[in-house]
């Protein structure tokens, strides 16, 4: 390989047919005299612009588009040299770092290695990981890299971070989420999952239906079934958030509701029945009463609220148990209507903030699948800024990257990117601050299923392609198919 060109932080390297390098590979461009080396990643492989190639191709097909038959008497055997030159490729590489004295890494690309004297060789992922010190005390093995080595990230690099897992359908996003969740739980972390399709319900089961090591740490809460809330436990602030944001209660009516609530609370009458009666008998405008009634019925019909305090203790119990020994609370939103979903999410986030503010919980890893379906507009910024300080560290999982706001991408610390072919999707993801657009667009487009481009702090900003390892977990949330024959 030969260094051909450097423009900004892009280097172009001429590679010959016997030197194989593919997208995603790392190269070490070493200038021994300067005592420095560049670490560059191949982001595109192109044909080298060899003069005369067009003529060469044109003259091989002059016979009506078919290859002309003939004999070449080539005693000096020049032909292999011609194909050798013709098949030369140009590796477009992004400079990721400079290494000085064999160990000091810096993210600079400000120096120019010698074109004639530099040696270029492939940098194996284990060597890169060693140089970049991507290891740690809490290893999470994500899977295998192309050179058959394992990519291990540190669980603490997810701590306090905002993560995004994205890719098109059926590329392995949920699989990676499950891997991260189970690994975090293994390190006694508290994880909350908004499970939209019931995919995480069997996280505690092996693929053949047996209990796995996490069985006792996976707590599935289904709203209106084993997950209910008593009005007495509710903070007025949380309920108002639900009424205003999930049920769109106007301001005037909200003011009246506040009065009703305080009146009932003073009399220790915070029950569903008493709330209904209070609204019915409250002296207020008829329209306000109607508005309050309609929201009251929505709350009642959700089945999420109860007067029985004993029925409504599971969430806190699970969270406290998880705090002690680690655990994942799976909020099963599979059969929940969109409005009820928002009610549940509003409640849960409010509850988490309440528990975290009072230091009853240390921190929570929140995994939110297709969050745009239940997260109100104003919560996005809240989650990535305010709630992060309380200790809610979110991982968004989506196959529609444009449903996540641009500012979320900008603040994302880690991105786990699966295959995307759509230009628009790639364009959206490439707005992330921790990655350059060329890398995203070039590498993500060619990722096979279950292969993930890991970007961000977990890999110390050295994008690495990894095949996510298999996980012995019972698959749930599979798409129901019309033509699929019943196996049983």
């Amino acid at each position: 390989m030969k260094l051909y060109k450097k423009e900004g932080n892009i280097v172009q390297i001429l590679s010959f047919p016997n030197e194989t390098a593919e997208k995603g590979d790392y190269l070490l461009i070493e200038d021994a005299d300067a005592g420095k080396a560049l670490i560059a990643q191949v982001i595109d492989v192109q044909f080298a612009s060899i003069p005369g190639v067009l003529e060469e191709l044109l003259r091989s097909l002059p016979d009506g588009g078919e290859i002309m038959q003939g004999e070449d008497f080539d005693p000096l055997e020049i032909a292999p040299h011609i194909t050798y030159i013709q098949d030369a490729s140009l590796l477009v590489c992004k400079i990721r770092a400079t290494i000085e004295n064999g160990e000091n890494l810096s993210p600079t690309s400000a120096w120019l290695p010698s074109r004639s004297q530099s040696t270029i060789k492939k940098l194996s992922i284990p060597t890169l990981l060693k140089l970049a010190r991507i290891n740690g005390e809490l290893p999470i093995v994500l899977g295998g890299t192309k050179d058959a080595s394992l990519l291990t990230i540190d669980a603490s690099s997810l701590d306090g971070r905002l993560n995004i897992i994205t890719g098109k359908k059926e590329t392995g996003k949920s699989h990676l989420s499950k891997l991260l969740i189970s690994s975090l739980v293994g390190y006694k972390a508290t994880v909350v999952v908004f499970d939209l399709n019931g995919e995480y319900l069997s996280l505690g089961m092996t693929s053949d239906g047996k209990k796995n090591a996490f069985y006792d740490k996976i707590h599935v809460l289904t709203p209106a079934q084993n997950f209910k809330v008593a009005l007495k436990q509710l903070n007025l602030h949380v309920l108002l958030e639900i009424l205003i944001h999930a049920l769109h209660l106007p301001g005037t009516s909200a003011r009246e509701f506040r009065r009703i609530w305080q009146s009932l609370k003073e009399r220790n009458m915070l029950t569903l029945h008493d709330l209904g009666e209070a609204i019915r008998n409250w002296h207020c405008n008829q329209h306000v009463r109607d508005a309050l009634f309609s929201r009251y019925h929505a709350l009642v019909n959700s089945g999420f609220f109860t007067d029985n305090v004993a029925e409504a203790t599971l969430l806190e119990e699970c969270l406290f148990r998880a705090k002690e020994q680690g655990g994942a609370i799976i909020i099963n939103l599979r059969n929940t209507s969109p409005i009820d979903r928002q009610i549940v999410v509003e409640y849960l986030l409010g509850k988490l903030v309440e528990l975290l503010t009072g230091w009853k919980l240390k921190a929570v890893f929140l995994f939110a699948e297709e969050a745009h379906l239940y997260l109100r507009e104003t919560y996005w910024d809240d989650i990535v800024t305010r709630m992060r300080h309380f200790g809610i560290f979110t991982t968004f999982i989506t196959n529609q990257p444009d449903t996540i706001r641009e500012n979320i991408y900008r603040q994302a610390d880690n991105i786990f990117l699966f295959n995307f072919t759509n230009e628009h999707d790639l364009e959206v993801v490439s707005r992330a601050a921790r990655v350059d657009a060329e890398t995203v667009k070039s590498i993500a487009r060619d990722l096979p299923p279950h292969h993930c481009l890991v970007l961000g702090k977990v890999v110390r900003d050295f994008p690495i392609v990894v095949k996510i390892r298999a996980l012995d977990v019972k698959t749930m949330g599979e798409t129901r198919l019309f033509f699929k024959t019943d196996q049983s």
């Binding site: 060899i50 005369g52 003259r59 038959q69 004999e71 020049i78 040299h81 030159i85």
Partner: protein, 362 residues
């Protein structure tokens, strides 16, 4: 000991088995390898602009009273199946060493049969030509290819700059001779004219080519892409009657200036629509009717884009060196003979900037 290569004849196109002919590529190869052996581990300065040499103009013929015969010869395409063959060669200078120049030559024979083009391509043969070895190389090849020394001057050797063209011409004449001997009842197209008597084209060689062609029932047609012949101050190929092609105009009043000898009758041929006409030489010894019929069969059997035979065009294309091939040959000699490529600045460009057009065009 000179390195030996085993040469096998192709099953599709058998060259005659005369001793001089079978030794041809072998001798060429031996000389190539022999010349290259002396450059081991030298430095090589690549040509800034490799000079491709396969453009041939017609040889100047004295034309004191040149006339275009008023009679126009209309051409009626004859579709009678006829094999059309063409020969061309090319040479290129690929670099310079301290003692000489590295050159490459290649030749191609193309033929069209059953509406399909086929080819045989010889080369590239790479030579290291120095002042010391140029005579040996040239004469050895002349002996091997044509079985003779130069008839005008036994000690004749071209200067080093002329060597690429001279070596390519030697290969071309041999290919023409071989084609004339092996093909039968065919049309053989040559690039250039049928004028002989130059160091490149000795009279006896051209005579032998034409005699052998006639013996085998072949007709030799030579197309010149460029001509310097003028009539009333205009190039003969620019004087075109407003008649729908294909047609030919015969030139008369031509006399080759000794030692030049013209073996052909000269025509201006416009064989397809478009404003392109070419000087066409046809073997003079053939009856007039056969000459015209040969052109008619050519028009009926070959493609004539812009009035130039496709077979001849392909011969040119196949032997021409592309930039890719030049790089490959440079790669070959650096790997095989340990040459070190150096890149001295082009003094013309260095001194004159954008006004320096490179040494090739100086």
């Amino acid at each position: 000991m000179i390195e030996q290569y085993t040469i096998t004849t192709t099953p599709k196109y058998n060259f005659p088995q005369k001793p001089t002919d079978t030794t041809l590529p072998q001798r060429l190869l031996e000389l190539s390898i022999h010349s290259l052996k002396h450059i081991q581990n030298q430095q090589i300065q690549l040509n800034q602009q490799p000079i491709q040499q396969n453009n041939k103009t017609d040889t100047q013929i004295h034309a004191p009273s040149l006339n275009l015969k008023p009679t126009l010869i209309p051409i009626k395409p004859k579709n009678q199946e006829t094999l059309v063959a063409a020969v061309d060669t090319s040479s290129i200078k690929i670099g310079e060493t301290k003692t000489g120049a590295l050159i490459a030559i290649r030749g191609a024979t193309i033929w069209k049969q059953n509406k399909r083009y086929r080819y045989i391509r010889l080369g590239p043969f790479i030579f290291h030509i120095t002042e010391e070895n140029k005579t040996e190389v040239y004469n050895a090849l002349q002996r091997a290819y044509l079985g003779q020394q130069n008839e005008q001057n036994h000690n004749y050797t071209p200067n080093t700059a002329q060597m690429p063209t001279r070596l390519a011409t030697l290969l071309e004449r041999w290919l023409q001779l071989t084609t004339a001997k092996t093909m039968s009842n065919s049309l053989i197209l040559l690039d250039g004219s049928l004028t002989a008597g130059t160091p490149d084209t000795p009279t006896n060689v051209m005579r032998e080519i034409l005699e052998n062609a006639r013996k085998m029932g072949n007709t030799v047609l030579a197309f010149s892409k460029m001509t310097t012949m003028r009539f009333n101050g205009n190039l003969i190929t620019d004087i075109l009657p407003k008649i729908t092609p294909p047609f030919m105009l015969e030139l008369s009043g031509l006399r080759a200036k000794p030692p030049l000898v013209s073996f052909g009758d000269i025509y201006v041929a416009r064989l397809a629509n478009g404003n392109y006409a070419f000087r066409l030489d046809i073997d003079r010894e053939l009856p007039n009717q056969k000459k015209v019929e040969a052109v008619e069969r050519l028009v009926g059997n070959d493609l004539l884009a812009q009035g130039y035979p496709e077979t001849l065009r392909l011969a040119h294309i196949l032997c021409t060196f592309t930039a890719n091939e030049v790089i490959a040959m440079q790669h070959f000699i650096t790997r095989r003979y340990g040459l070190k490529i150096i890149n001295r600045p082009d003094m013309h460009k260095l001194l004159f900037g954008p006004f320096g057009k490179g040494e090739a065009n100086a």
